[in-house]
Amino acid sequence: MKLATDLTVSGLTIRTPAGVLLVEDASFEAAHGELVLLIGPSGSGKTSIINALCGLIGERDSAWQVAGLIQFGDRQIDLAKTRSDLCGLVFQGNALFDDLSAGENLRIAADHSPQSRAGYDPTPVLSLLSDIHPDKTVAACSGGQKQRIAIARTLVADHPVLVLDEPNSGLDIKSSRRLASLIKKICTERSMPVIIAAHHVDDLLPLADKVLLVDSTTRSIIRVTPDMLAIEAELMRLDVGTGGRPATSANADRWRKHIRRGSSAKWFGRYFAEYFWVLCASPYMLAYVGLGGIILGFVSIWFGFNYHAFGGYLKSILHDETLAGIGFVQTTIAVPLVASILVVARNSAVISADLGNRQLSSQFRAMGNLNIPGLGYLVASIIAANTLSLLLLTVAALATASWSAFQTWYFFFPDQPFEFWQENYFRRLIESGPSLLIEIGWAACKIVLSSILGSAAAIIIGLRPKTSVVSINNAIAEAIVIGVSMALLAHAFFAILQFWR
């Protein structure tokens, strides 16, 4: 007879935001102290199922459609209405907080666990951590140690059901077997249901009480015999049903275009377009620089005409020269400088984060292995896109700053003609005649040098070896500080040359 406190999942239906139905009306059970393996081909929905059990599905995309009922003890959760908080998840890749030590990873979980955990017996957890010093950094731990810390952290959080997503991924056979026996021990000692989603089940199978297969053809969860041959037969059946489709399908035609060898020149354009969008044309970037220009235009006029001992004179008899001075300084010095600071700061962060992540996830090594000149594509694209971005965004900032300056001026002098503002605001530039091109040239020099120096700093910092997310974060901060400092120096250098006459 089934225990009243067993985990029962019934009517589980999951549809992805793209409209793919993963499982439909699926059901399964897991008893106390039972170790359940959840297997299935790649893309069959194993991770989505455990995310649904742990209340993590649809966190970032509300377009997921989930239905079903979870029953555990006297608790019943309707997944269509409520997110489940029954299961503690050990994430694939561990998801350890690498800015904290091993001990702190557990302490932070303990400090945020339920009050009912006061009488909790830590012995099973301690057995997981026997060879790890609490002060050891996460980066210094081996793969097996990280996995055990992650399991211990989840146990400390004291959920009634333990779920593990690919716990043996990346572990050697010895570590994998040791981990499996530890999980089984926890499962038995704590008498809790444990569900493991896994691809490689050889080491886990001997300890499993039940094996559940996600059938991607019927979109159901079926129970299979915990026997390697039976499992392999089922997986082969599913593989034939999905991956083994005839190559004449439309999808195969699509893939052929990707596999055929073509010109490699387009990849620079591909990366350039990607970076140009992120560094220049994305709405946040445009709004950010536009807003910067608007604020600068407002501030220069508002404080230029106010808060001065001769404020009244500036607004009346000294108006023309005051406005001409503000206009000249704003268009030739202030806007290019502020635009450079804003763009270089933001883009240095983006570049260093992007390259840092590529470095951390070994993308450059992969590119090297595939004979892709990754550094060339990326570095050239970044420098070109960033420089073009800064030039275009400075023009955009000039437009919004001047517009805002006029609006502020018009607030002060509502009965004066627009052309009068225009005549004085741009007077110094118009009067400069052909030397206007020289002024534009100076501004361009400042912008280009700022961009090149800022990009170079961010690239160098981003490409340095990364050991963790924390090292990427530090690189971002470093790139912002150095990039902005470079931009300031570039502007100061050319401003001195510009006005050295």
Binding site: D320, A399, F406, P417, F420
Partner: protein, 382 residues
């Protein structure tokens, strides 16, 4: 349900991002286009010419103003020289319909007198009152300063240097030279050479000597010139006449004819020289510095105290009444232009459109302050 390779939300996010970026870029373009100067709109241009032949030579561009019913003045456009001694006035599009009854175009030199003509009756009355007080209360004090040893030892040499320069400029002034040319026109070629050479040198040198008397006679009225006060040119006229009586000059004029020194041309030359001298002093940028030193000289403080107070009252009233300054400071573009011209020593004239009634009023106040422009083709050009 149809399976999509990109989720609906992802597609929506991309489309939204693209749309927002497009809107922002369009916004930047519109903002930039709306504020960047474009070529002047020709449908708002008019052609004018001087009522009298020979339009004053204009710099590249002169400002055009319009005076509204309440006598406030705003910028109305810009003017440039056009072929055939004519003037092309480009009206600002945004204020083309401002003050439609201001049909009279007047050309002014950038002097305080223009602000005086534009000022309302209350402002003019206040300035007249303060000028009267200045003359009354300060006369004794100034007299005492001028007679003091401190002034004669310290400041008189400095002022003499300024005056010498002012005389040179007055002599080189176009109108003085015109008067001199009129005088020469009646003489023969040999005499012209004498007059242009030696007589000019003697005249310049001797007039400088006589200038101090001129300043002493005029010091109070100088400040009031822009507000309708007349200068007493008699000392300079007398000085120039005395120069002409000089034995050296006499000798040179033997063949010229003494009677010519008492002609209208000679008298006009003397007057122009005097007027040019005063104008030159008004534009002398070093003069305020010397005046400031005198005013703040602790040795002269007691003597100058009554004058200082009156002068300060006047100085503080000038910007308020003529420059639009005061509790609610507002932009007076006309005052701004004139102030800049005075400070920078520029002579950029200005064009102002006024109503026929205002033109009559200004003519009565100062008939010589303006030149009248008439429509060159009688209609707007297109």
């Amino acid at each position: 349900m149809q399976v999509r390779w990109i989720s609906e939300s992802e597609l929506l996010a991309r489309a939204t991002s693209g749309l927002i970026s497009g809107i922002l870029i369009l916004g930047f373009a519109v903002a930039g286009w709306s504020i960047v100067p474009h070529a002047a709109a020709t449908d708002y241009s008019r052609i004018y010419q001087d009522e009298l032949p020979g339009l004053v030579a204009l710099p590249d561009e002169v400002p055009v103003f319009v005076m509204r019913r309440d006598r406030s003045v705003i910028r109305h456009g810009s003017a440039t020289s056009a072929p055939g001694d004519r003037l092309r006035v480009d009206i600002f599009r945004s204020v083309a319909d401002e003050a439609p009854d201001a049909t009279e175009a007047l050309l002014f030199q950038p002097t305080l007198e223009v602000l005086w003509l534009v000022a309302n009756e209350e402002s003019q009355a206040e300035l007249r009152r303060l000028l009267g007080a200045l003359q009354e209360e300060g006369a004794g004090a100034i007299e005492a300063v001028i007679m003091s040893d401190i002034f004669n030892h310290t400041y008189r040499p400095m002022l003499r240097s300024l005056l010498s320069d002012a005389v040179s400029r007055a002599w080189e002034d176009e109108q003085t030279q015109d008067a001199f040319a009129d005088l020469l026109r009646t003489s023969d070629t040999a005499m012209r050479q004498v007059l242009r050479g030696e007589i000019e040198a003697i005249l310049t040198s001797r007039v400088k000597e006589a200038l101090w008397a001129t300043v002493q006679a005029n010091w109070t009225n100088v400040i009031g010139v822009p507000f309708g006060y007349e200068l007493d040119y008699a000392p300079v006229v007398s000085a120039v006449t005395a120069v002409l009586q000089d034995p050296l000059v006499h000798q040179k004029f033997v063949t010229f004819g003494r009677e010519r020194l008492t002609t209208d041309e000679a008298r006009r030359l003397a007057e122009r020289l005097a007027i040019g001298l005063i104008d030159s002093l008004l534009r002398e940028t070093r003069l305020p510095k010397v005046a400031s030193e005198i005013m703040w000289d602790p040795r002269l403080r007691n003597i100058l105290h009554p004058f200082s107070e009156s002068a300060m009252n006047l100085v503080s009233a000038l910007p308020r009444n003529l420059g639009g300054l005061g509790k609610d400071s507002s932009l007076n573009p006309l005052a701004a232009h004139i102030f800049k011209a005075l400070v920078l020593g520029r002579h950029t004239p200005l064009v102002m459109f006024v109503t026929p009634q205002d033109r009559t009023r200004m003519e009565q106040l100062s008939p010589d302050a303006m030149r009248f422009l008439i429509s060159g083709d009688g209609a707007k050009t297109t």
